[in-house]
Amino acid sequence: MAEAEKLLGVWAACARDEDEAWRTAVEGPATVDLAARLSTVPQPFLDPRVSVVALAGDILGMGSLACAPYCDDAAVRQGAAIGLWLFASEELLSPFSRTLANSDRFAAVDVLALRLASVSAPETWLWDDERREEAVRTFLLWSGFLPAGEDRDTARALLAARDSLSRNKALAEAYAEHRHREAIARRLADARAKEAAARYSSE
């Protein structure tokens, strides 16, 4: 659990605010299409001998994954590789009805590798419908999309209902604390907060 808590902390530190992610998400492809694509992840993507960092370089181009230093962990590596496959598949197979191009691709890979893989083993995403749907919905949100045909509230409720993290009380609390720390730091660093408020005396 300590390792999972650490990985959740890494995700909390690099992720933008979740409310904002929901607020800014726009309609994207259907979950069923992504789920089908996820199930067909090619073996080379799951091969532990293949470097995820190199794979990311080929698929995502310039930039860095927050999960890269933790890819020695099999779950982190697998989670990242599956996310990379979803992006690569648009070129290797066919684009989704609404393309993932121009989405927040690094965040989408990181959320699978760090947040979801910490509490849901990536191999289960391949054979368990519920876990696969959680992975797809998580991936879509952090790519910047709502599932096709769903409004914001519905999409949020459906992901919350499948949230593996919420079933692990201790980890969920630890994650909530990580997010809290990041929210406070973000708030205090925000220029509007830094303008401060007028004060009336010395203390």
Partner: protein, 468 residues
Amino acid sequence: MSDPENPDLVNPLDLDEYRAGSSAALTDHERWPTLTEGGATQLTRWRTHPDAPTWVHETGDRLTEEQLDRVRRPLSRDGWLEEHLETARGLPRYRKLTGLTLLSDFPLIERRDLVTDLASFVPLDADLDRMVGGTSSGSTGAALMIPDDIEEVARSFHLLRDLVIAAGVEWEPDDERLALAYLVHQRQAFTYVSLISSFAHRPMARVNLDCSGWPTVESRARFLADANPQVISGNPSSLNELLADDLIGVVRPLAIFSGAMALSGPLRRALEQAFSAPVFDIYGLHETRPIAVRTDDGPFRVLDRRVVVEALDADGLPVPHGEAGELVVTAGENPLLPLVRYRTGDFGRLISLPDGGVGITDLEGREHTSFIASDGRMVACVDLTQQLQAHGAVGWSIQQHADGSILAHIAGGEKVSIKAGLEALLSQDVEMDAVDRVSQLGEGKPRRYFSAVSSPIRGSDVQARSSP
């Protein structure tokens, strides 16, 4: 001053955050959501006053209509401590601990805990929309960003007003005067004009009396004469400056508030005599907010608000009633930082006042120390603190000997920049000894100033005490 066109002329003492306008981010309607036409007129008047200093900052109280009435009233104290402890038990800092039944069950915390993990002291369900940043240079270590609550900050004005009224002095909105002038006297400071939305949108200003920021040498006197603030707040350095020849006759405050540092009896009496007004000495920390007040040489009275003061020994146990101990404060006014058993680093004796209130006597720890530069200028220790913190120092002991020479022991930070900053401030060589850790400075507070040359009270022969 710095010349952006010529880097060679950059003054090593100028700190970026004090560049005019560098921290302003809001519109006036965001600063004062209930801004009135009259208030806007006042803003313009004082911002553009021909004798106004260069305003470094712009900031307001951000109060909405529904908040105005709330901040005018003190928070209820009924059952507050139990509610406060229940909130604390849910903080990330404490939630894994068991056995936190009574106040005395809670572990002591100190400034270092806030610096290390501030968020663990902020409730998980805190309303971050009410959070603004308040920088605390403090007196016990590294600088700290405190999560200020806009309602609590606004309510602190009404605490001052309630104290003035309780002293039998009327303080009502006045169309012609600044409601309040918050004075500082230091090389660099955040200065601004604001409106007090909950006080009929009357104007107030944070004003730096340091001569460098005014259009002409006569400007500060003319500005203050025109503003004639109803109430003046400040610290002993800035209030002492109020006794300067050019200022002493120009203001007629209803009351004066001193905070941040120890106010000596002679300075308080000099202020009372000069302005015929009560002088309130407030004891408090930014982290805890005001704790106690006095208006004479007697004990401080712990304020009737959400605050509990304990006096503890070196082992963290209560000292017998009336004996000296470190003051440890539980503070419940700021909902964004509900502190339990916060070590202040200050020492005093708790006593019972005749009316049943709690008093603090022999309060020690808020040293008011000034240094004298080689050209005779008085340099307040806050100026040194700004430079030391800006260059990363985490602890220090700075001593000025009777012959004027300066010896500085510094823990942490950029040594070359620190030495250059101190020497520029004091216009003389500074002998500096760098240490690796604060503990190498010896026992006591991590920030210490000692001066064998004392700061004279303006207009008198009485010498203010130098800090021990």
